[in-house]
Amino acid sequence: MRNYVIRRLILMIPTLFVVTVVVFLLIRMMPGNVIELMVMEHSQEQAGEVNLDIAAVEAMLGLDKPWYVQYREWIGNLLQGDLGLSLWTERSVNEDIAARLPITFELGFLSFLIAQLVAFPIGIYSAIRQETLGDYLGRAFAILSLATPAFWLATMLMVFPSIWWGWSPAAVYIPLVENPGGNLIQFTIPAILLGTAMSATTMRMLRTTMLEVLRQDYVRTAWSKGLKERIVIIRHGLRNAMIPVITIISGQIPIMIGGTVIIEQIFALPGMGRLFLEAIVTRDYPYISALNLILAVVGLLLILLCDLSYAWLDPRVRYK
């Protein structure tokens, strides 16, 4: 087992290498030269000719060197903990990420909590009381929250309360340290939206696996032994049903780091998702590489943890 973990961790390094190199190349291959974009933006603000020595700007930003040299520099900086400077604002990438990450994490964490709190009761109930009214209501609710596009619901939430009650969601982010109450209120609606949408996938998988597990012989044995319903369902049923569910849940954790562009955009939360989108649109290479690296590391670690959890949950799974 320990050898397996070590092997997987070592395998992560070439994978990370491949991922970062490919992304490095891809973004430089994307149409739209960064300098040209900057010039266009600049000339929009200042009407008049812009006499820019493009080569000089490129040299200043370090973009004139061949890509493998740039990559080597990036890796060098990385190993010292420096993620580079933004091409547009010259601010440290570390700083910006440090500012935005807590916001994304708060939203992601709250949504994650809500998702599990909604998914587990409904999923289990739907499995043990299949085809009853409770099952239908629970499932309908979960799937409705998944089917309703976030941007549509948010638009509705902005229009109708303002027409009926003259209220609309806060337009500017309220930091937690300044105003905990306001901050939590601001996060409530997006967290509920995101959480319930995330819960639907988990709930369906949980329901499917529970249904399958409850038909097994060992569950029937547990019933015939006269065990209490709660023990049968949780200790014998749920524990064995968890494996695919863990896969789904671990797939949702990157939201705490990567954020969701759509929700952040709608509710005006300066999070990592928006940062990523802006970075891609403006071809801000240091940001893109940094964010991509963080997400890739987190993603690969989660996959590894997920596979390891299979071994923990199911004694039949053995890694050599």
């Binding site: 395998l11 994978t15 491949v18 991922v19 490919v22 992304v23 891809l26 973004i27 291959m29 994307m30 149409p31 043990i128 009381r129 299949q130 085809e131 239908y136 499932r139 309908a140 799937i143 409705l144 998944l146 089917a147 309703t148 596009p149 941007f151 549509w152 619901l153 638009t155 509705m156 902005m158 229009v159 639907a200 369906r204 499917t208 249904l211 399958e212 409850l214 038909r215 097994q216 569950v219 029937r220 019933w223 319903e229 896969t247 990567g258 562009v261 759509i262 990523f276 989108l277 891609i280 893109i288 964010l291 991509n292 997400l295 890739a296 993603g299 690969l300 996959i303």
Partner: protein, 324 residues
């Protein structure tokens, strides 16, 4: 395929009920046991019909502009109102159904084909090949989707075909693991060993033993993925990467004119959203019902005997899952 009614020969014995073909049986079970699934199936059917018969149903062509009637409120002439270019919203929503159907069916088909090809080979061959391929898939999964999308769109252009391909391949990657685990589960069966023992070639094995047994999984993936793909297209349109105008896409209608005019012409923001939600909801419900009915792991004596067996087994399991 009906089993012959032989029990009537014995006096006093109960009559063997008729057994139907698997296909008909599926629909009988759907209607009898899964009311939500039936509702979903009806919605999907309506969606398909609306898409196919769009020219017949829609009062106006979707791109017909009536600038004089810009942002007209719902009326007798424009049943759901008109958008910022005077186009009838109802017609655009109807044609939007067709677009969503294209995307849903097209992208899901590619999902299934892509995931099955790779998952099947990887799962069947196993060993080092499987290990390498799976790590490769893991790497692909951690790739930021936006970058790949933007690059691909820049290379191959925007349009409905491109969106279908991109969604199809991207989504398919996620489903590879599912197909692979199904194949591995099937490989563990004794009949596979038996087939190998009598000298089945790989091609025969795949064709006669593996593929038919993962057919239910493929159907499940298709129906579950359909809802996701339609939603994904709507999200792409929100970010500006979806199908370009003037083709009516519900997602773009919501995030474009819907958002911009949401106070003056609220109907522009309401109806595409209602259509999208209903469609995805119906497809999801139906997908769930399909999965309930077809998942081989849920068969285990309960589903494998068709609607007749289901009734008998239902009586038995009801005692297990209810408080006694």
């Amino acid at each position: 395929m009906e089993i012959e009614d032989t029990n009537t020969m014995v006096p006093g014995a109960p009559e063997e009920p008729k057994r139907h073909s698997a296909f008909v049986d599926f629909f009988i079970r759907l209607v009898r046991e899964k009311p939500m699934g039936t509702v979903g199936a009806v919605i999907v059917l309506l969606l398909l019909l609306t898409g196919i018969l769009a020219e017949v149903i829609a009062p106006y062509p979707y791109q017909q502009i009536h600038m004089a009637d810009r942002l007209a409120a719902p009326s007798g002439q424009y049943l759901l109102g008109a958008d910022n270019m005077g186009r009838d919203l109802l017609s655009r929503v109807i044609y939007g159904a067709r677009i969503s159907m294209y995307i849903g069916l097209g992208a899901s088909a590619i999902n299934v084909i892509f995931a099955t090809s790779i998952g099947l080979i990887s799962g069947y061959l196993g060993g080092k090949f499987d290990l390498v391929v799976q790590r490769f898939v893991d790497a692909l999964l951690t790739f930021p989707m936006l970058i790949i999308l933007i690059t691909l769109m820049a290379l191959i252009g925007t349009g409905i075909v491109q969106v279908i391909i991109v969604l199809g391949i991207w989504g398919g990657i996620g489903w590879i693991r599912v197909v692979r685990s199904a194949v591995i589960a099937i490989k563990g069966n004794v009949y596979i060993d038996a087939a190998k023992a009598i000298g089945c070639s790989t091609g025969e094995m795949v064709r006669r033993h593996i593929l038919p047994n993962i057919m239910p999984i493929m159907i499940i993936i298709f129906s579950v993925a359909m809802a996701g793909n339609i939603l994904a297209e709507a999200s792409l349109s929100f970010l500006g990467l979806g199908i370009p105008p003037p083709v009516p896409s519900w997602g773009r209608m919501l995030s474009g004119s819907g958002r911009r005019y949401m106070y003056e012409a609220t109907w522009l923001a309401i109806w595409p959203g209602v259509a999208l939600t209903t469609a995805v909801f119906g497809i999801s419900m139906w997908g769930d019902a399909v999965r309930d009915l077809l998942d081989p792991r849920l068969r285990g004596g309960v589903g494998g005997m068709g609607s007749y067996g289901m009734k008998q087994a239902e009586k038995a399991t009801r005692k297990i899952t209810r408080r006694t």
